[in-house]
Homo-oligomer: 469 residues x 4
């Protein structure tokens, strides 16, 4: 309903706990913001894998106690998924679970493989069949066809053939393997709970189950957990730049999460401060587009010395379906979720802070809503640069045509959304903010803003169709 | 899941619009915070009434388009309901719709009749049967048995026999009647949309459908709307004090609503300022228990000159059911909804602002959560006085035994919730804040804090059981 | 889907058994053929009544164990209902349960009160309100307004004011009352199970729970069961003819039931014999329209000395919904349920026996189906007279216009359904068959065939609209 | 609920009709008796395949019109499935649909491959992964890995590697292929409808959609249908005996179906005649265990010159779930479905005819039920031999331990089920009956009676575990 990019997935895994499946359910609960279309859990009792998957929210797919009696064992992995257009069916639910020559294996994937079509095509040519449209399935095929003897080597051998973004959790009868791609696009961290090892896309999943955060799994690192304990490998020979996704800090991750060794909330607030410093405005108050714009708006207000107010109130009971009046020319969309507070806005010069603009349609409605509530001026400040390029590393971006920044100048966008002024934080500002909270030397992937893709993709024709070149 | 008092109902009505039922659905959507257990709509096409009612949220009960084709006509009333214990079944859904000697009538009620048991008993003695356990049914019986000829007089005659709190919307084949009790306990306002009249418990319902707010319906006022237009009556002879519910400002109403002629948000923020002035504390930052504690926390922070931070992050995907791990000694309750941000809280002296404490169990968990996230000191500030007395005017209060303030001193509560300090805004502070935003002379009902009930109730024995005397 | 008249209800009650609600569920299971739209159970634990009602089949409304924990106590009544057009909503589910001056009372009703509109109107004039459109609600109002002191007298007083058909089961906190109207239109029998008393519309309900059949409750008899045991009353002074519904034997009752002191199956078979004797035909074999036409077809075949074959096979997996192909000119209706066996029918002169024809549309399709399967001749024999008059005693009959026999001669109907010959068993034949199995002196109500209504109804205008006079 | 063997699947396909998916739905409706656990349809619009699958009955999985808009195109295949223990989950629903090097392919399978484990193991060794536990998946893998160029050759190449029972329907973007294994275990027939070709497991599916039956697809025949028309191939070089499943005639197929070139109903009736001739009994009447025992019972009665009666009445409203009373020692099982008619049975010597006995538990209850209804003698006649051996060709048989005939003599079984006499039709009788209606030279597979398996299976160890040797 909001005009946002969508994370495609969240991943969770636990090894060595008697309530593995139930804790995985809780972990997915905490990761629900990373994907709402489908979810699933695969557990192992040491002898075989069992799965339960379904379309919908975690609370709906796992709403009966007895599901957990069908997911026995002390290890489990889970997945939440945001389905891209056309792929929202049962078949594409994860974790994917298959049998192959060495037994069973399940995998949960956050990310996107840029060479999946080529690998798939090659696999099909040598006789593989594909049950899903997910790129993740290629990984399992590669493992099944690997020549090495040990599972660890087979996984390594396979991952060396794929390119792109992946934070993966594998489960076999007796092992849990967690890997991040060498570039480290997507987050994945490690924790401990009562002696059990836990992995999750974001640390907020550890908080809920009261697991103790240990550390980020490193880019290119493979963690193998079995009865004997945990081992760490760095199987990728080739050196690549470490380019975690900068957008996780801007919008995807929960503000109470730690990812890539930084807490999200203070970073987000610092984006707001940077924005206030670079694009100050003579105004009466600052409001946020809730809830994602809140930290940046608060940072902006503090830096600008302006009062921060709750000028837009969010309705927490918005359902998945909504029936528009038949003969109405009004469209309810954003009004169902947000309502302006006239008393605060009336007669005021208002700064409204949001984290990003994708198509611009929602921003336009919000600006109008604020103005209808009596605001004298509306100054829009966005805590990230214009989103002009699609993501190929695991984020569901609309085609380039739909990205308003791809074809319009900031002035044009300002006019379209009817803002008095519109300013975006630039890439330098993002990096400056991030440097305050962690390692100075880490690069981030900012391809959605800059078009500079850390990993090139083989299919020029396809990407051309996306209007990229 | 949160430790709050619960509003029992929200009311909506519209007369003279071709999409009456669909707009009522939208109105109920906006009023959903006033009741989530059941909802319903009754519409009239001028000849007969049609109803659709069900258990659950508005978005679930009205999830198919074709429901609206079964609710034809240009007038409708609707209701959302929070069920009190034991009464959460289909039979008690509202609007109540019955046939009587003059045709059909439906009624939606927000409030509670203190003499309902006596009236019901008297009606039963003279041969009436009751299909529901709701006090509202007595009103319809009284109308059916009234001696006057005209509908308006019958409604007046009936209401003169009941005592207590009521904001009512009646619908007959050809008329919509809206009434507030003479004390004016519950809110009800009037608006216009494309020539149609609209009534709703809170103005946020008008905002969503873009109806223009006209005014509060006055205490003791009866509005009658038919084809010829609107008429206003003041049928109650006896003069009573105007005592709107002060708790609507503290917690029930949405912050973006106007009720009792004041906007909620600035009042709530002023409660925080008053609190900061009366109970200052040497601290590093102020956080809120989201979302209801936000405005007061912001007011507190501004007045105290302390930074306001989002120290507790809310999970927006909490479902209605939740499966606790079997062998776990942990209880997830509030952790599912809130997660602290360690970076903000660690090593800090934290002021946490909430609007009220009912049983104290949640507050205790929140204080512990904040302390576990590293806070050095936790100072709890509550933007209302201790809730020590049950409400008999339409709010679902636990029995007196469960109200922690009824049997414990503030010091004892502070120890129980493990706060370093705990302060409540006093009644004078509430009134002082309210005087800044509206009529100085209006009394408010503050019985839940003071035990001073504006309307006495006949059944001493019952109320004794509640531990009141 | 089939062209049949519909029974409106089935009734069950039990008093004095620890598993009262669960046995009631089983009883309703066995009575499901008497009504499929809604069902419900009310139980009493001696102190209060509890109810569970819902739309749909017994197996669907009561599909979770925990429903029975909410229906405690050792007495219960239950109801299955076939909803007439327009009335199929939740509100009209039975048993109806209300509170009145003496406590609570619930009632389950099979039948129809011919003076319900007058009684309702009178009750409304004196101030009663009606929550349902069911005639049954008038009975509860009358009980609530009765002047006698004891429950038994109140029920008697009330029933003396209503006219028509009723087999009723009442439940209060401490008593079960079962009554049949003085004419005895609808069946109701008594049984015992482990010391508990049981009442049910048909004896098949006793068979399932292994209760021992005692006897039919007599027309005009009222059975009162409480802790002390059972008492029988005959409260109706006026003598009326005993006129049980003859159609129960023709179609409504299950063939394995005993009603009105006769087993259904042999009666139904004798109808077929009578038919064969009166309307013999030179043919090769006899088939039935399954399943209701089976016994009569077998009786016909035996009497005629012709082979009986299963020429039409029934599909047992027919669901409640069915999606017709979009562009198709075919209509699937009866084909979904029945398929002819070509090998049996090809080249043969076939007698097809059915129990009744209502609109004729299905018979027409069946005759065509048999002919398409190769039959040389199709002779239709109906084991009851032409259904020419609507029922006012508890059966859902279409309006007179829709009854093909009301406006067409047998010859015309034969041509319409494309039968070579068509013969109906006459009223004398029905009575002759019934006399073989029970009391010779009992009259039966055959108004649907003869138009001779045992009880006249006050509303001439209404009945005129039905095209009756 | 009844003690029967279960068919595992039904198959349907259509090519060249604008309403392909909807007609497939109708076909599956008619084949529902062959599998009730799950069902599915895959359609092709000439460019791509679309699928809809689900757990449950056809009427439930396809209950909304809009499902068919998502299954466009003029060709489709469908499947109904009875899940064997452990395999009843979503993943095993058919048709299986995959992508491989030549595009997409879907397959619906009735039967069982005896060498599936070996083939699967070999495929896994060369790197294949398996998403389901179904033997059918091996076929798709083999097609994907086949070396031939054309689809037809690839399918042939693949089928030459599997052994066992299969009637298959394949769908690709542009072709429908139907095949029967060389032994012809499972039925599959061909029909035409408005120029479109149709295939189905039983002819009753053709009857419903009014398609014209053409012929049985022959054992070892492969039919390929595309835009240009239909071609027939016989790709299997090796000559094998034609051994269709005799149990299809005894119980599985619908009596109104034609399979293996014979109509089922007259065959079944002739089984009854044979039984009467070989095992006559001095009795008063013959009854059937409905509905499957009906034709044989009627044949028995005719041959024996005894009256045939409906002594057991079936309840047609039995749901999928049923809640037993808690404290009850009674078990309801078969009583929910069947009720005896006392009037018919009382004091009589009764012959009760059923088609087969698997575990004997239900037969025991039925004999007791008949005796409790007053029968003086109960003579059980079974229209097939003792079922002593498991089926490996597509029928879900219990393990050998559970088959009462595997370990008990007929006398012992008679005592267990408390019958006065018990007789089974012998294998010679079955064959004699079948010869009357079709080709004298066809062998039938009667392995479940004789233990003579037409195709041996490689895994001796496994079959040993089944207690076979």
């Amino acid at each position: 309903m909001f005009d946002k990019l969508h994370e495609e997935c969240g991943v969770f895994g636990i090894f060595g706990h008697p309530e593995a499946a139930n804790l995985t359910y809780l972990g997915l609960y905490a990761l629900q913001h990373r994907g709402q279309e489908s979810c699933g859990i695969v557990s192992s009792d040491g002898i075989q894998l069992k799965a339960h998957l379904g379309m919908g929210l975690v609370a709906d797919v796992f709403k009966h106690d007895d599901i957990f009696t069908k997911l026995p064992g002390s290890s489990a992995i889970g997945h939440v998924r945001y389905s891209t257009a056309g792929g929202n069916d049962m078949k594409n639910c994860q974790p994917i679970m298959v049998d192959y020559s060495r037994g069973s294996i399940a995998v949960a994937h956050n990310g996107n493989l840029v060479n999946a079509p080529e690998v798939r095509s090659a696999l099909e040519k040598s006789g593989s069949i594909f049950s899903t449209t997910a790129d993740t399935e290629t990984i399992v095929h590669l493992i099944a066809r690997a020549k090495s003897e040990s599972l660890v080597e087979r996984v390594c051998e396979s991952l060396q053939q794929v390119k792109g973004a992946y934070s993966l959790a594998f489960l076999t009868e007796t092992r849990l393997i967690a890997v991040r791609d060498p570039s480290g696009f997507r987050p994945l961290s490690l924790a401990k709970l009562d002696g059990a090892f836990v992995v999750a896309s974001e640390s907020c999943a550890f908080d809920l189950i009261e697991a103790e955060y240990i550390r980020e799994i490193e880019p290119g690192e493979m963690i193998v957990i079995d009865k004997k304990g945990m081992k760490s490998y760095f199987p990728f020979k080739e050196k690549v730049r470490n380019t975690p996704c900068i957008f996780e800090y801007i919008y995807f991750a929960r503000p109470d999460s730690r990812i890539f060794n930084r807490m999200v909330y203070p970073v987000r607030k610092e984006f707001g401060r940077q924005l206030a410093r670079k694009y100050p405005v003579d105004a009466d108050l600052v409001i946020a587009v809730p809830d994602s714009g809140m930290p940046a708006a608060m940072g902006f207000a503090e830096e600008a010395g302006l009062p921060f107010e709750l000028g837009l109130i969010r309705n927490h009971y918005v359902g998945r379906t909504f029936i528009e009046p038949q003969q109405s020319i009004r469209h309810f969309g954003v009004k169902l979720k947000l309502n302006p507070v006239r008393e605060i806005l009336e007669g005021k010069r208002v700064v409204v802070v949001d984290d990003s603009i994708v198509r611009g349609t929602t921003s336009r409605k919000i600006v109008k809503m604020i103005r209808n509530a009596g605001a004298k001026e509306v100054h829009v400040r966005i805590s990230s640069p214009p989103t002009s390029y699609p993501c190929f590393y695991g984020i569901d971006t609309p085609s380039r045509k739909e990205l308003i920044s791809a074809s319009h100048s900031i002035d044009e966008i300002a006019r379209y959304i009817t803002a008095d002024t519109l300013c975006y934080l630039d890439i330098a500002g993002l990096h400056a903010a991030l440097r305050q909270f962690g390692d100075h030397k880490v690069d981030f992937c900012d391809a959605c803003f800059s078009g500079e893709y850390p990993i090139r993709f083989p299919r020029l024709t396809d990407t051309n169709q996306l209007g990229l070149f």
